[in-house]
């Protein structure tokens, strides 16, 4: 049994007269401990898909199963509970609370689960060490670099030990050095801590850190490649190949 299963998920926007199929009949599984990247050009529907998985948006049709729960059926309080207990979010623009310090930002994820303060302190310090942000814990977001902010956001996402970490363009606002550092941390979380990560990106380099890449075009799964046993460099080349194919018109590539 896989951790996450999408069955014929569809998401339509607009009215009857002008219908946009943002997600058009997508199905796939994600196993526990997998690091999956979803790639696609802007407008391909990848962020919509992620929003559906994260229950921020509702699907038009289809089912999304996390373990035994059909999350498309959740409502109100259950939804909130699901989000805070089972999921971790990482956003492109960090979405840190600007009035809170890094420590408090990370702690917030635990305190809204009503965990005792002692446990919170221990958990925050552990995760800060894993992500290399111990020295910025008492700083405010405006005092940190983009990379540090994103690592704080990642710490907030995983400190609750969620079943699934969802990252929406996590490197989108970072320079290449910070990106690399962050992605290495993702790998660490994935391998050492066993976190299951789904990451949306349009950047091949970022995607090459994943163990598996899904390509989406016009709301459909266009291709899927696995890293297998090869090096990251080889995987990167493979991704580039698909992207080239994906980027142009299909007939051009043929």
């Amino acid at each position: 049994m896989s951790l996450l299963r999408l069955q014929n998920v569809e998401k339509y926007y607009g009215s009857r007269s002008s219908l946009t199929k943002a997600v058009d009949d997508i199905s796939f599984d994600v196993e526990k401990g997998e690091f999956t990247a979803i790639m696609g050009a802007s407008g391909s529907g990848k962020t919509t898909l992620l929003n559906c998985i994260s229950t921020i948006d509702r699907v038009t049709a289809g089912h999304i199963m996390l373990e035994d729960t059909d999350i498309t059926k959740l409502k109100g309080k259950e939804l909130n509970k699901f989000r805070r207990d089972k999921l971790g979010f990482i956003f492109q623009d960090f979405n840190l609370m600007d009035t809170l310090t890094a420590y408090e930002n990370i702690a917030l994820a635990l305190s809204i689960q009503k965990r005792p303060a002692k446990e919170i302190d221990k958990a925050v310090k552990t995760v800060a060490e894993q992500l290399g942000i111990t020295e910025v814990l008492n700083k405010y977001p405006y005092e940190m670099s983009g990379g540090q902010k994103q690592r704080v956001a990642s710490a907030r996402a995983i400190v609750t030990s969620p079943k699934l970490v969802l990252a929406d363009e996590p490197t989108g606002a970072l320079d290449s050095k910070s990106s690399k550092m962050l992605l290495e941390r993702f790998n660490y979380l994935n391998h050492e801590c066993g976190a299951t990560i789904i990451m949306v990106t349009h950047d091949s380099f970022t995607a090459s850190y994943a163990s598996r890449v899904l390509f989406i075009k016009d709301g459909k799964v266009f291709n899927e490649i696995n890293r297998g046993g090869g090096s990251r460099k080889q995987f990167f080349d493979k991704i580039i190949n698909v992207v080239t194919l994906l980027g142009g018109d299909v007939s051009d590539a043929l």
Binding site: S54, I56, K77, L79, N80, K81, F82, R83, R84, D85, L87, F89, N95, M97, D98, T99, L100, E104, A107, L108, A109, L110, S111, I112, K114, P116, A117, I120, D121, Y140, Y142
Partner: protein, 687 residues
């Protein structure tokens, strides 16, 4: 086109404007209601005294209205400045699109006019409705009948309201035009990109500042509330200034400490949304220290004004009950013809006054007492004090205790007859004994203080011992308030008839029903006026008289009570509305700015209930902080007021305070509730 944009702007920022508009409407309505009292009461059938009282009431309301207009004007300028600041981005866009500053000013002018006319219209409509209720309230106060009532609209009050508010809006327009003409595009554009810098104040500085201001406030409290006997005008002014400054610094330091204290309690701080809530709150308090201070002081004034007004009103009614136990009272004396003491009146008889007109004072009364009081030039307050005088003056520096007046003396038989008439306890004295009675501010205590040591009093050359070690608490001469500043009761044979001072007459009408009483009152008054008129117009030298009746006294008591209550309500209401509006505007705009934060909390999976709770505590504490300190101030203020008002005020303080609390809860609490609901709506995600 301009009109269309303004209208859509208003519609768009309805959430920001709603509470502003609401406040304007309230302001207009209250302004109208109070200024329309004159017209609203013109139909009431009231007697001369009451009409006079209503006149005084409307005149004082007119005077206070100027002050109210200034307060409202400041509020409107503050609010419009605040709302304009929030629209800097919008103005930047207009400018980038090539709109001239003139056109933007015209746009703003258009908006202000729309809001102004709208608020005036709605406010006047509500005001006209409420003022009908006011008619009933005034009629009830004066026990006038409402039969002649008809729906009234006061043209003069409408004109006045329009002129006053017109001036306020004009000031706002000029101001915003000026601001627009001065602003630069680049600053407007950058204004949205405010750096959310969190400046934590140094904890120790905060603690020290807090301790110093608390100590300063303590000093001010002590000197005003507990040590008021030694308060000079200069010290009083100093205490007020110290109190205001200390208030500011208390808010300043509490803003810094609040968060630190909460943060140190990790268990609480990292529970649910507490960390978020307290951060929001502390940043709010940090940026509003000045407004908080003003609001706190305004609340303080409001609470004091309202409770004092209610207390005075209550005691006015009670005072008459206690201090005017008969229906009719005349006091009369002729000039002493003493060139050295031209103010001195001595001797004379009321019977003579009436006799000149072949009238008699006694006809209308079923029971009465006609008695003289006496003075002994050699028996003054200082004489009574004897060698205790220096010590006493050292410790008491009120003006009334420094005046060396001749003590008033009455015969024991007159005293007992009077007490019988008043339905109070009579006393017995041996031939060498005296007693003292008083009930005016402080005098009971002063005389009791002396009587403890059993001082001998030398009256008309005869030495008398005090019978009691305490001063008897009663009034002698009927009045609206406790006015007996000390009367010596001596055995009948101890007085010298040469010392006759005033001739007094007190009596109850020879009537049982209300109508009979009114009839008797009319006759008694007419007779007196006739007699006194003749007597005083005669070139007979000076005479001095007092004539009062219970009905007249009750009416003026009601009148004074009504004036004080109306003025208190007027000021209190406007102040409360202003305070509520400032806090509400601030809180609502903060909430709107925090929308992304709430969106993020929702993404993290925080329950709506918890968000709601967080917003509730944020606005709750924000509203509560100034109120708490204001209550503390008001407690001390009322202690002082109690001291200062003892001359006027009797009776308990509980009811007035409860009334005040109810009004504060109603208006201030209402604003809090609106703010809470508004904030909740603003922070909800738009779908």
């Amino acid at each position: 086109m301009l009109f269309k944009i303004s209208l859509s702007n208003i519609r768009k920022s309805l959430k920001d404007y709603a509470i502003y508009f609401f406040t304007l409407v309230l302001g207009v309505a209250v302004f109208y209601v109070f200024n329309a009292i004159e017209t609203q009461t013109s139909f009431l059938k009231v007697n001369e005294d009451q009409r006079e009282m209503i006149k005084v009431l409307t005149t004082s309301i007119s005077a206070v209205s100027v002050f109210i207009a200034v307060v409202l004007g400041l509020l409107i300028v503050y609010a419009s400045r605040f709302l304009m600041k929030r629209r800097n981005k919008e103005f930047a866009l207009y400018m980038m699109l090539g709109m001239s500053k003139w056109r933007i000013s015209a746009l703003l002018l258009c908006e202000t006019v729309i809001i102004g006319i709208g608020s005036l219209f709605v406010g006047l409509l509500i005001g006209v409705g409420l003022s009908q209720v006011m008619s009933a309230v005034v009629a009830n106060l004066f026990e006038a009948d409402m039969n002649a009532y008809k729906f009234t609209v006061s043209g003069s009050a409408i004109t006045k309201t329009i002129i006053y508010f017109g001036i306020m809006y004009a000031v706002v327009m000029l101001r915003s035009g000026f601001v627009i003409s001065k602003c630069r595009l680049i600053t407007l554009m950058n204004s949205g990109r405010r750096s959310e810098k969190i400046t934590m104040k140094n904890l120790w500085v905060c603690v020290i500042v807090f301790l110093i201001s608390a100590a300063a406030l303590g000093w001010a409290y002590y000197s005003v509330g507990w040590n008021a006997e030694h308060l000079s005008l200069r010290k009083f002014g100093l205490a007020i200034i110290v109190g205001c400054v200390a208030t500011f610094f208390i808010f300043w330091s509490v803003a810094g400490m609040l968060l630190r204290v909460m943060m140190s309690a990790k268990g609480i701080y990292h529970h649910g949304l507490n960390s978020f809530t307290f951060r929001q709150l502390s940043s709010k308090v940090n940026t509003t220290v000045a407004s908080m201070t003003v609001i706190c002081l305004m609340l303080f004034v409001t609470i004091c004004t309202l409770s004092t007004a209610f207390t005075i009103r209550n005691s006015m009614n009670q005072g008459v009950e206690e201090n005017y136990p008969v229906d009719f009272y005349v006091q009369f004396a002729e000039s002493a013809d003493d060139p050295e003491k031209p103010w001195l009146y001595k001797g004379g008889n009321i019977d003579d006054v009436y006799a000149q007109q072949n009238e008699s004072i006694y006809d209308e009364f079923s029971e009465y007492l006609h008695f003289h009081d006496y003075i002994d030039d050699d028996f003054t307050f200082y004489d009574f004090m004897g060698d205790k005088r220096d010590e006493f003056l050292e410790n008491n520096n009120e003006i009334y205790s420094r005046f060396n007046f001749t003590e008033t003396i009455i015969k024991l038989s007159d005293y007992n007859a009077l007490m019988k008439l008043y339905g109070r306890e009579q006393i017995e004295l041996a031939d060498d004994e005296y007693a003292v009675c008083a009930n005016a501010l402080g005098f009971t205590d002063i005389y009791t203080g002396f009587l403890k040591d059993k001082p001998e009093a030398v009256i008309y050359g005869k030495s008398l011992k005090p019978k009691f070690t305490k001063c008897i608490e009663t009034s002698i001469y009927p009045g609206m308030q406790a006015n007996n500043a000390g009367v010596f009761i001596v055995p009948d044979n101890a007085v010298s008839e040469n010392g006759q001072c005033f001739d007094n007459f007190v009596g109850n009408y020879n009537a049982t029903d209300k109508k009979g009483v009114e009839e008797a009152e009319k006759t008694a008054r007419a007779k007196w006026e006739n007699a006194a008129h003749w007597y005083t117009s005669d070139a007979k030298g000076g005479t001095n008289y007092i004539m009062s009746t219970r009905i007249e006294t009750v009416n003026s008591a009601i009148g004074i009570g009504a004036i004080v209550t109306f003025l208190g309500l007027y000021i209190g209401f406007i102040f409360l509305v202003s305070c509520g509006a400032i806090l509400a505007l601030k809180e609502l705009s903060e909430s709107a700015d925090s929308l992304p934060r709430y969106t993020m909390l929702r993404k993290l999976g925080v329950d709506e209930k918890d968000i709601s709770k967080s917003i509730f505590s944020q606005s709750g504490i924000f509203f509560l902080l100034p109120l708490l300190l204001a209550c503390l101030h008001a407690y001390v203020g009322m202690r002082f007021g109690k001291f200062g008002l003892e001359l006027l005020v009797v009776g308990d303080y509980i009811k007035p305070v409860l009334f005040t609390a109810a009004i504060v809860v109603l208006i201030y609490g209402g604003y809090f509730l609106l703010t809470f609901l508004g904030s909740k709506a603003v922070t909800r995600e738009q779908k």
